[in-house]
Symmetry: C2
Subunit: 267 residues, 2 copies
């Protein structure tokens, strides 16, 4: 799977601490170059773009950022704007705020901004996203499905930004009890690795295939590629899921996962 | 592990249907002997014993049960009463209603009723329990712990009735997002198999080590015996859990799990 990672992603499960230690946001700031960081905060996920950008602007400026742009994209025309592309191209770190993942993809998918992101990704510029901004990282993203029992309420999915291949992300994971929908997602194609990230928790996906956990909670990784039992063909008839065995990795800070080898280790 | 199952248990995740198909309760009635069933409903888990027993009484009578006893145990003296023991001894099916699992164990643990249950269990009389009545089946039971991120809020456990060995049960499983606490429980001793049962779902644990799923949702089985990563020693310092890999089996009706082989199959 080593063709799947060509960049540097910080994927955050939402509700990251912005008041106390700010561990995850400080980590992002450091990875983006600390005082030399040129950060673009993209607020397209939110229809309250200004409010969405404000806390990040304050925080990064407080940390000593001297070059910060809030990128407000409200239309597909904005997403094709050369002025915005120019700001992105010179950045050393991109941060997607939360909101609605469909706003992100509907606005920037296939646009000049979308192409620029792919370019930055391949150039190893760190791209971070929280909540909706986390979900869009993958090729296919989960957009709805609150069903408790896996399979009962079918999840709805849509094409994501496609930076991270072979993976599907879910966020606010433990807090919103989302393992059922992530199990359903990986059942639909066990080639896909499912990564569920708790609030105030993030995974740093690196070019060498390593995933490092940073933050307060856990990241749960589901690998259904070994499953010899699956009733996924019956799910659309409203049956509850059967899927076994699934390899599950519960990881917290200090532990890593290797996407290529699909195995965990101590850092 | 074949020393671990000497009986016949129907373990229900709570909120089983009593209005429509009543699939699980009909299954219990059939296993107890149908029209020849001699059923004891034990309401000790509830401090509203009469209300707790009523719906089961009505349902089993409606199904054609001709011999039904509601066993109301309010004190440890009740649990030593020969009259109650006599009722239990002649039964062909025992049903524990929901409520508080600590009421069950505090009242009947070590009593004549407790000893009689063990005797009935060894004699293969079917013993069913829903919700709190499900949790008490095992040697160690979960009594609290709503923490979302595994390990964050430590679960609290207590000794159960000890009928089913080598297993820990959790109920209302998907509905209350309890995978975090069950993961924590199996991390504390990976020898223990974790079984999380959804509402209106049950597992029939049979003497040959097979677990059969009956009902609307899924049973999720966690086997951490393969884990080579664990930080369980750090949990009590408030760290979130790391545990990997864990083998997970998501099973719905039509699928079985074998406790001895720790593997799933199609029925």
């Amino acid at each position: 799977m080593n063709e799947h990672i060509s960049g540097n992603l910080l994927i955050i499960g939402g509700a990251e601490d912005k008041q106390k230690d700010c561990k995850i946001l400080k980590y992002f700031f450091r990875e983006a170059g600390s005082k030399d960081a040129r950060i673009c905060v993209i607020t397209v996920a939110s229809d309250q773009a200004e409010e969405a950008g404000k806390p990040y602007e304050e925080l990064f400026l407080n940390l000593g950022c001297q070059d910060l742009q809030i990128i407000n994209i409200q239309t597909r025309q904005d997403a094709d704007s050369q002025a915005i592309v120019d700001k992105l191209i010179r950045s050393s770190g991109i941060f997607f705020t939360g909101g609605d993942q469909l706003r992100i993809t509907a606005m920037i998918g296939g646009s000049a901004v979308g192409r620029t992101l792919q370019h930055l990704y391949e150039g190893k510029v760190i791209i971070a996203g929280t909540s909706a901004g986390a979900s869009v990282m993958s090729e296919t993203m989960i957009i709805a499905g609150q069903g408790d029992t896996p399979g009962e309420d079918l999840i709805r999915m849509a094409p994501g930004l496609g930076l991270l291949k072979g993976v599907i992300i879910d966020q606010h994971f433990a807090q919103r009890g989302r393992i059922g929908r992530l199990l359903t997602a990986v059942a639909l194609n066990p080639y896909i690795l499912g990564i569920g990230i708790d609030e105030d928790t993030s995974v740093h996906v690196q070019g060498d295939g390593r995933i490092k956990v940073i933050g307060r909670g856990t990241a749960l990784i589901l690998d259904a590629s070994y499953a010899n039992i699956s009733n996924v063909d019956e799910l659309f008839a409203g049956r509850p899921l059967a899927l076994a065995p699934v390899k599950l990795h519960v990881l917290s800070e200090g532990y890593e996962f290797n996407i290529w080898e699909r195995s965990s280790s101590v850092k």
